[in-house]
Protein backbone atom coordinates (compact mmCIF):
# COMPACT_ATOMS: atom_id res chain seq x y z
CA UNK A 1 0.00 0.00 0.00
CA UNK A 2 1.47 3.29 -1.06
CA UNK A 3 1.37 6.63 0.69
CA UNK A 4 -0.79 8.13 -2.06
CA UNK A 5 -3.51 5.55 -1.38
CA UNK A 6 -3.62 6.47 2.31
CA UNK A 7 -3.80 10.18 1.48
CA UNK A 8 -6.64 9.69 -1.01
CA UNK A 9 -8.49 7.32 1.33
CA UNK A 10 -8.19 9.87 4.15
CA UNK A 11 -9.50 12.64 1.86
CA UNK A 12 -12.45 10.52 0.75
CA UNK A 13 -13.44 9.32 4.20
CA UNK A 14 -12.99 12.77 5.74
CA UNK A 15 -15.12 14.32 3.01
CA UNK A 16 -17.85 11.71 3.48
CA UNK A 17 -17.80 12.14 7.26
CA UNK A 18 -17.98 15.92 6.99
CA UNK A 19 -20.83 15.69 4.45
CA UNK A 20 -22.86 13.64 6.92
CA UNK A 21 -21.93 15.48 10.15
CA UNK A 22 -21.81 19.23 9.39
CA UNK A 23 -24.75 21.38 10.44
CA UNK A 24 -24.86 23.82 7.52
CA UNK A 25 -26.23 22.07 4.44
CA UNK A 26 -24.15 24.14 2.01
CA UNK A 27 -20.99 23.06 3.86
CA UNK A 28 -22.24 19.48 3.53
CA UNK A 29 -22.50 19.91 -0.25
CA UNK A 30 -18.92 21.24 -0.34
CA UNK A 31 -17.65 18.29 1.72
CA UNK A 32 -19.57 15.96 -0.59
CA UNK A 33 -17.68 17.45 -3.55
CA UNK A 34 -14.41 16.73 -1.74
CA UNK A 35 -15.49 13.12 -1.18
CA UNK A 36 -16.42 12.76 -4.87
CA UNK A 37 -13.04 14.21 -5.86
CA UNK A 38 -11.27 11.76 -3.55
CA UNK A 39 -13.18 8.87 -5.11
CA UNK A 40 -12.32 10.10 -8.63
CA UNK A 41 -8.64 10.23 -7.65
CA UNK A 42 -8.91 6.71 -6.21
CA UNK A 43 -10.32 5.59 -9.59
CA UNK A 44 -7.37 7.25 -11.34
CA UNK A 45 -5.03 5.53 -8.85
CA UNK A 46 -6.63 2.23 -9.91
CA UNK A 47 -5.70 2.95 -13.58
CA UNK A 48 -9.37 3.48 -14.49
CA UNK A 49 -8.83 6.79 -16.29
CA UNK A 50 -12.14 6.83 -18.14
CA UNK A 51 -14.20 6.04 -15.04
CA UNK A 52 -12.23 8.61 -13.05
CA UNK A 53 -12.87 11.42 -15.51
CA UNK A 54 -16.49 10.34 -15.91
CA UNK A 55 -16.78 10.57 -12.12
CA UNK A 56 -15.35 14.10 -12.16
CA UNK A 57 -17.63 15.22 -14.99
CA UNK A 58 -20.83 13.62 -13.73
CA UNK A 59 -20.51 13.97 -9.95
CA UNK A 60 -18.43 17.09 -9.38
CA UNK A 61 -19.76 18.76 -12.53
CA UNK A 62 -23.43 17.86 -12.42
CA UNK A 63 -24.64 16.12 -9.25
CA UNK A 64 -22.89 18.53 -6.86
CA UNK A 65 -24.36 21.52 -8.75
CA UNK A 66 -27.81 19.89 -8.65
CA UNK A 67 -27.49 19.38 -4.90
CA UNK A 68 -26.50 23.02 -4.37
CA UNK A 69 -29.44 24.16 -6.51
CA UNK A 70 -31.84 21.99 -4.51
CA UNK A 71 -30.44 23.30 -1.19
CA UNK A 72 -30.80 26.92 -2.26
CA UNK A 73 -34.30 26.39 -3.76
CA UNK A 74 -35.54 24.74 -0.57
CA UNK A 75 -33.74 27.12 1.80
CA UNK A 76 -32.20 24.00 3.31
CA UNK A 77 -29.18 25.86 4.63
CA UNK A 78 -31.14 27.06 7.64
CA UNK A 79 -30.43 24.81 10.59
CA UNK A 80 -33.74 23.52 11.96
CA UNK A 81 -34.53 23.67 15.65
CA UNK A 82 -34.10 20.33 17.33
CA UNK A 83 -30.83 19.51 15.62
CA UNK A 84 -29.93 18.13 12.23
CA UNK A 85 -30.33 14.48 13.23
CA UNK A 86 -33.55 12.51 13.31
CA UNK A 87 -35.17 11.41 16.56
CA UNK A 88 -34.25 7.82 15.77
CA UNK A 89 -30.58 8.58 15.13
CA UNK A 90 -29.38 5.93 17.57
CA UNK A 91 -31.13 3.17 15.61
CA UNK A 92 -29.65 4.42 12.34
CA UNK A 93 -26.16 4.65 13.80
CA UNK A 94 -26.43 1.14 15.23
CA UNK A 95 -27.61 -0.27 11.90
CA UNK A 96 -24.79 1.46 10.01
CA UNK A 97 -22.18 0.25 12.52
CA UNK A 98 -23.50 -3.29 12.23
CA UNK A 99 -23.31 -3.08 8.42
CA UNK A 100 -19.72 -1.82 8.63
CA UNK A 101 -18.79 -4.55 11.08
CA UNK A 102 -20.18 -7.23 8.77
CA UNK A 103 -18.55 -5.73 5.65
CA UNK A 104 -15.20 -5.24 7.36
CA UNK A 105 -15.27 -8.74 8.80
CA UNK A 106 -16.11 -10.19 5.38
CA UNK A 107 -13.28 -8.28 3.67
CA UNK A 108 -10.66 -9.12 6.30
CA UNK A 109 -11.73 -12.75 6.63
CA UNK A 110 -11.69 -13.34 2.87
CA UNK A 111 -8.43 -11.47 2.30
CA UNK A 112 -6.42 -14.68 1.70
CA UNK A 113 -8.88 -15.71 -1.03
CA UNK A 114 -8.78 -12.42 -2.94
CA UNK A 115 -6.84 -12.29 -6.22
CA UNK A 116 -3.85 -10.35 -4.89
CA UNK A 117 -3.56 -12.14 -1.57
CA UNK A 118 0.00 -12.52 -0.34
CA UNK A 119 0.88 -16.16 0.18
CA UNK A 120 4.16 -17.09 1.85
CA UNK A 121 5.50 -18.40 -1.46
CA UNK A 122 4.89 -15.17 -3.34
CA UNK A 123 5.33 -12.74 -0.45
CA UNK A 124 8.78 -11.66 -1.60
CA UNK A 125 7.59 -10.57 -5.03
CA UNK A 126 3.95 -9.60 -4.70
CA UNK A 127 4.33 -7.61 -1.50
CA UNK A 128 6.36 -4.97 -3.29
CA UNK A 129 5.64 -5.42 -7.00
CA UNK A 130 2.12 -4.34 -7.86
CA UNK A 131 -0.05 -6.12 -10.37
CA UNK A 132 0.79 -4.71 -13.82
CA UNK A 133 -1.68 -2.07 -14.85
CA UNK A 134 -4.16 -3.25 -17.47
CA UNK A 135 -3.55 -1.22 -20.61
CA UNK A 136 -7.04 -0.04 -21.52
CA UNK A 137 -7.56 2.64 -24.12
CA UNK A 138 -10.69 4.71 -24.61
CA UNK A 139 -11.03 3.04 -28.01
CA UNK A 140 -11.38 -0.36 -26.30
CA UNK A 141 -14.04 1.02 -23.96
CA UNK A 142 -15.93 2.51 -26.88
CA UNK A 143 -15.77 -0.73 -28.83
CA UNK A 144 -16.97 -2.66 -25.77
CA UNK A 145 -19.85 -0.20 -25.30
CA UNK A 146 -21.14 -0.53 -28.87
CA UNK A 147 -20.27 -4.21 -29.13
CA UNK A 148 -20.65 -6.49 -26.17
CA UNK A 149 -22.58 -4.00 -24.00
CA UNK A 150 -24.78 -2.38 -26.65
CA UNK A 151 -28.06 -3.52 -25.07
CA UNK A 152 -27.31 -2.01 -21.62
CA UNK A 153 -26.13 1.14 -23.43
CA UNK A 154 -29.49 1.50 -25.19
CA UNK A 155 -31.36 0.81 -21.95
CA UNK A 156 -29.34 3.53 -20.19
CA UNK A 157 -30.12 5.92 -23.06
CA UNK A 158 -33.86 5.28 -22.60
CA UNK A 159 -33.49 5.59 -18.80
CA UNK A 160 -31.73 8.96 -19.07
CA UNK A 161 -34.41 10.27 -21.44
CA UNK A 162 -37.18 9.09 -19.12
CA UNK A 163 -35.42 10.58 -16.09
CA UNK A 164 -34.94 13.91 -17.88
CA UNK A 165 -38.61 14.15 -18.85
CA UNK A 166 -39.76 12.77 -15.50
CA UNK A 167 -37.71 15.22 -13.46
CA UNK A 168 -39.06 18.16 -15.48
CA UNK A 169 -42.67 16.95 -15.14
CA UNK A 170 -42.31 16.30 -11.39
CA UNK A 171 -40.78 19.72 -10.78
CA UNK A 172 -43.27 21.62 -13.00
CA UNK A 173 -46.50 19.93 -11.93
CA UNK A 174 -47.71 22.52 -9.44
CA UNK A 175 -47.10 25.46 -11.77
CA UNK A 176 -49.50 23.95 -14.32
CA UNK A 177 -52.13 23.49 -11.61
CA UNK A 178 -51.72 27.07 -10.42
CA UNK A 179 -52.52 28.33 -13.89
Amino acid sequence: MSLIFYLLAALTVAGALAAMLLKNTVHCALALTAAFAGLALLFLNLDAQFAGFAQILVYIGAVAILVVFAILLTRGSETPQGGVFSRTWLVGLTAASAVFAVLGWAVVASAPLLPTAITPATAATSATAATPAPAVTVEQIGRALVGRYVLPLEVVAVLLTVALIGAVIVAMHEKEEAK
Binding site: A16, L32, F43, T74, R87, T116, Q140, V156
Partner: protein, 107 residues
Protein backbone atom coordinates in the same frame (compact mmCIF):
# COMPACT_ATOMS: atom_id res chain seq x y z
CA UNK B 1 -4.66 -13.12 8.62
CA UNK B 2 -3.83 -9.67 9.96
CA UNK B 3 -0.64 -9.38 7.96
CA UNK B 4 0.13 -6.70 5.45
CA UNK B 5 -2.92 -5.16 3.81
CA UNK B 6 -3.02 -5.95 0.12
CA UNK B 7 -4.12 -3.14 -2.23
CA UNK B 8 -7.47 -4.78 -3.02
CA UNK B 9 -8.25 -5.25 0.69
CA UNK B 10 -7.42 -1.60 1.33
CA UNK B 11 -9.77 -0.38 -1.39
CA UNK B 12 -12.53 -2.72 -0.20
CA UNK B 13 -12.16 -1.44 3.36
CA UNK B 14 -12.32 2.20 2.20
CA UNK B 15 -15.43 1.36 0.17
CA UNK B 16 -17.03 -0.36 3.17
CA UNK B 17 -16.25 2.68 5.34
CA UNK B 18 -17.72 5.16 2.83
CA UNK B 19 -20.78 2.93 2.37
CA UNK B 20 -21.36 2.79 6.13
CA UNK B 21 -20.94 6.56 6.48
CA UNK B 22 -23.47 7.09 3.68
CA UNK B 23 -25.87 4.61 5.27
CA UNK B 24 -25.54 6.27 8.68
CA UNK B 25 -26.21 9.67 7.12
CA UNK B 26 -29.20 8.42 5.12
CA UNK B 27 -30.69 6.87 8.26
CA UNK B 28 -30.03 9.70 10.71
CA UNK B 29 -30.23 13.06 8.89
CA UNK B 30 -33.50 14.98 8.95
CA UNK B 31 -33.00 16.97 5.76
CA UNK B 32 -34.25 15.06 2.68
CA UNK B 33 -31.42 16.43 0.51
CA UNK B 34 -28.81 15.06 2.90
CA UNK B 35 -30.50 11.66 2.82
CA UNK B 36 -30.08 11.74 -0.98
CA UNK B 37 -26.42 12.72 -0.48
CA UNK B 38 -25.98 9.66 1.75
CA UNK B 39 -27.47 7.45 -0.96
CA UNK B 40 -25.07 8.96 -3.51
CA UNK B 41 -22.15 8.13 -1.20
CA UNK B 42 -23.34 4.52 -0.95
CA UNK B 43 -23.57 4.23 -4.76
CA UNK B 44 -20.07 5.67 -5.07
CA UNK B 45 -18.68 3.17 -2.57
CA UNK B 46 -20.17 0.36 -4.68
CA UNK B 47 -18.50 1.87 -7.76
CA UNK B 48 -15.15 1.84 -5.96
CA UNK B 49 -15.63 -1.86 -5.23
CA UNK B 50 -16.42 -2.56 -8.89
CA UNK B 51 -13.35 -0.68 -10.13
CA UNK B 52 -11.08 -2.30 -7.53
CA UNK B 53 -12.24 -5.79 -8.48
CA UNK B 54 -11.82 -4.93 -12.17
CA UNK B 55 -8.25 -3.74 -11.55
CA UNK B 56 -7.10 -6.69 -9.46
CA UNK B 57 -9.38 -9.37 -10.87
CA UNK B 58 -8.31 -12.13 -13.24
CA UNK B 59 -9.55 -10.66 -16.56
CA UNK B 60 -9.21 -6.85 -16.65
CA UNK B 61 -9.12 -6.85 -20.47
CA UNK B 62 -12.82 -7.82 -20.55
CA UNK B 63 -13.65 -4.42 -18.93
CA UNK B 64 -16.67 -5.87 -17.09
CA UNK B 65 -16.20 -4.03 -13.81
CA UNK B 66 -15.29 -0.72 -15.44
CA UNK B 67 -18.32 -0.77 -17.79
CA UNK B 68 -20.55 -1.73 -14.85
CA UNK B 69 -19.22 1.27 -12.91
CA UNK B 70 -19.80 3.61 -15.87
CA UNK B 71 -23.41 2.43 -16.21
CA UNK B 72 -23.80 2.80 -12.45
CA UNK B 73 -22.61 6.42 -12.68
CA UNK B 74 -25.19 7.11 -15.40
CA UNK B 75 -28.02 5.54 -13.40
CA UNK B 76 -26.95 7.42 -10.26
CA UNK B 77 -27.04 10.72 -12.16
CA UNK B 78 -30.60 9.99 -13.31
CA UNK B 79 -31.57 9.04 -9.76
CA UNK B 80 -30.11 12.25 -8.36
CA UNK B 81 -32.00 14.40 -10.88
CA UNK B 82 -35.35 12.74 -10.19
CA UNK B 83 -34.77 12.61 -6.43
CA UNK B 84 -33.89 16.28 -6.13
CA UNK B 85 -36.86 17.19 -8.34
CA UNK B 86 -39.08 15.26 -5.93
CA UNK B 87 -37.53 17.04 -2.94
CA UNK B 88 -38.21 20.44 -4.51
CA UNK B 89 -41.82 19.43 -5.22
CA UNK B 90 -42.28 18.18 -1.65
CA UNK B 91 -40.88 21.46 -0.37
CA UNK B 92 -43.46 23.36 -2.47
CA UNK B 93 -46.23 21.23 -0.98
CA UNK B 94 -45.20 20.91 2.67
CA UNK B 95 -42.98 24.04 2.99
CA UNK B 96 -40.29 21.89 4.59
CA UNK B 97 -37.69 19.25 3.77
CA UNK B 98 -37.62 17.93 7.32
CA UNK B 99 -38.35 14.21 7.07
CA UNK B 100 -39.64 14.05 10.65
CA UNK B 101 -42.25 16.69 9.79
CA UNK B 102 -43.40 15.10 6.51
CA UNK B 103 -45.73 12.40 7.81
CA UNK B 104 -48.60 12.42 5.32
CA UNK B 105 -48.65 10.91 1.86
CA UNK B 106 -51.72 12.96 0.92
CA UNK B 107 -50.83 16.58 0.22
Amino acid sequence: MMGQITPLTGYLLVAALVFSIGLAGALTRRNAILVLIGIELMLNAANLNLIAFWRYGPHPELLTGMIFAIFSIAVAAAEAAVGLGLVIQIHRHARTTDLDAINRMKG
